[in-house]
């Protein structure tokens, strides 16, 4: 189970690569605050798939009402939102 923020990032990058970018995801995401939607990293359709994947992989349930751009449109936002669900990373 991914624990640290870096592991969560890696989990998402790997998923983006497997589903959409096939090895290019790391290059596409230049910084944590970059919008996924506005830079073609992910479409709204892909957001739903990502959410379903994270729920399954991390054994959590994400409130659909909280699936806003503020919470999900960017790597930093996703990780922060997940962190709020998962609690602090353990040592």
């Amino acid at each position: 189970m991914p624990n640290s923020d870096a592991e969560l990032r890696r989990l998402i990058i790997d998923w983006l690569d497997d589903q959409y970018h096939f090895g290019d995801a790391e290059q596409l995401i230049r910084d944590d605050e970059q919008s996924f939607l506005e830079t073609g990293v992910l479409t709204s359709l892909g957001f739903v798939q990502l959410v379903l994947f994270l729920e399954q992989r991390l054994a959590i349930t994400l409130d659909r009402a909280a699936l806003t751009r503020e919470n999900f449109d960017g790597m930093g936002r996703v990780v922060r939102h997940l962190r709020a669900h998962l609690g602090p990373a353990s040592a």
Binding site: D18, F22, G23, G40, S44, L45, V48, A65, L67, R69
Partner: protein, 665 residues
Amino acid sequence: MNTPSIVWQPDPARAAASQLARFQQFVEARHGLRFSTWAEFHRDSVVSFRRFWSDFLEWSAVRRAGSAEPVCEGDTIERARFFPALRLSYTGTVLDGGGQPDAAVAVVECHEAETPTAALQVREVTRGELRRDVARIAQALEAQGVGPGDRVVALAAHDADTIAVALAATGLGATWSSCGPELANEAVLARFGPLEPAAFVVTGQYRSGGVRHDLLARAREVAAALPTLRLTVVTGAAADAAVTRDAAQWPHHLVALPQLMAGTEAVTRDWTLLPFNQPLFLLFSSGTTGAPKAIVHGAGGTLLEHLKEHRLHGDLGPGDRLYYQTTCGWMMWHWTLSGLATGAAIVTYDGSVATPDASALWRLAARTGVTVLGASPAFWQYTRDSAVSPRTLGTAQLRALASTGSMLDDHWYDWARQEVGEIPLMSISGGTDIIGCFVLGNPTLPVYRGESQCVSLALDVRALADPAGGPDELVCGTPFPSRPLALLHDHDGSRFHEAYFAAHPGLWTHGDFIELTARGTARILGRADAVLKVKGVRIGPAEITGIARRLPEVRDAMAVEQRHADSPGGSRIVLLVVLQDGVALDRALVHRIKRAIRDGASADHVPAVVAAIPELPTTLNGKLSERAAREALAGQVPVNRAAIRNPEVLDLIRALPEASRDHPA
């Protein structure tokens, strides 16, 4: 099996007033008959199919000339020819819409908003405007030498311009063939290359997912590879500017649609009545091997079948607004276009269903007054997974949903009832091959959970039992007008025979599994052949495996559909690869394979899973057996295991961890 629950019942008064009921009364009065049940009426339409089509032609009042006799020459499906002495105009009938006035709305054109917070862009085109535009475009195309026998191809968005040019071209007797912008150039050329087209239509720009795409820039490569082209017409917003930019580098005459129409007169046109079997549309059916096959569909057969489906099975008519989630590369685009002939308006959308958010399409339906909305199970799933509740979005005007493209599982009937409303969910299914449907809705019958309401009128749909104990196979036993005229360049008909008649001589073999119930309802149970239907898109495995095999690491490949509840639409593509000696399937190679398929075909073609096996399952005759692989992926013992040369491979496939049905998509 127990009778499933009824999830929708027609209102008796509405059912009695439906076009289906009125047509039945017409037939009864005309021939002194009396049908007490739908089953009786349907049976009569099959047994007396000639009389049915003659009656329907008369009842639907299609403007025509010549003789309606003979109705059908020949008794075998493979050779029969409907209405060989009749002439009509597909374009004229579609534009007329049963005598709709000029002021009536014909097309509601929608474009994705320019920004996430901006409003959807909506433009209404009246019948009068569409009639004039189509007439002027036809006049201009004619002046450019486009006429009967020519082929006009399009790489285009689903919008009003594309509709107008398509109707103009077909009105002149040219044959229309279109691909949506989602298809990569290589796949477009695999389709258009053999057509030797005279004219090319390109939507200059389109929007999807918040991004504006310059389609014209990409289309230059396509145009350059089609030496028979004499003309490219650029449509859509900013067409003039795009032409100014690109004209000097274009390999032939490039013109924007407004420029093309500039020298024409704003008059309506008395459309020439063309032979019933005039080639109208060229569609592509991706087979299990080789390049996509080009299917030639005739004007009369397409028109009559679509009118029958829309008016009788869908009760579509004036006052309705039809929207189907499609691109112009899929037959549902042609099906939607023909909806105009009923007097209904059609709604087009150039954009993503997910932009600005998951409610986009439902809001579009509410805003434009869509009454009949069609999509695929993948879209229902996307809506559900996004926690969008359509009934809260102002969609009360919806009176029916249609679903096609993939099997529709039972639970979607409950979802539709709870989240959309007390309206019928019509599970319709057929295909590109017949440019129509074998199973459909019915305004006079209930909807049973998980089932299509009925079999299409005048089509002798049968469930052929598999002696080996597998599911029944869908075949059709009597001639029907929307059977393709031919496959392109198949001069002796041998490929046509092989594709549809070789498996069961004398019967049209469609390639689907089906269950027919004693109540007259039906369930489509998936593909019987190797064709893939994923996310509502029909995909020929050869388009995937052909690209995979070009990678030096891949010796052989097989693409198989796997039912997978968590995947959009309930199924996904698994690509089984045999690698060269010494090559291992690591993530980097999986990505290279997927990237090559995306870039060479489309994102829809990309397999969800790539898995390596030592060899592909083959029959004792040496043929690849996708069916055995599919059944192994489903965790079953393949029905034809005894006929497989290397059955141990099936055990390996069944045990593949990445292809486990529990493994994430």
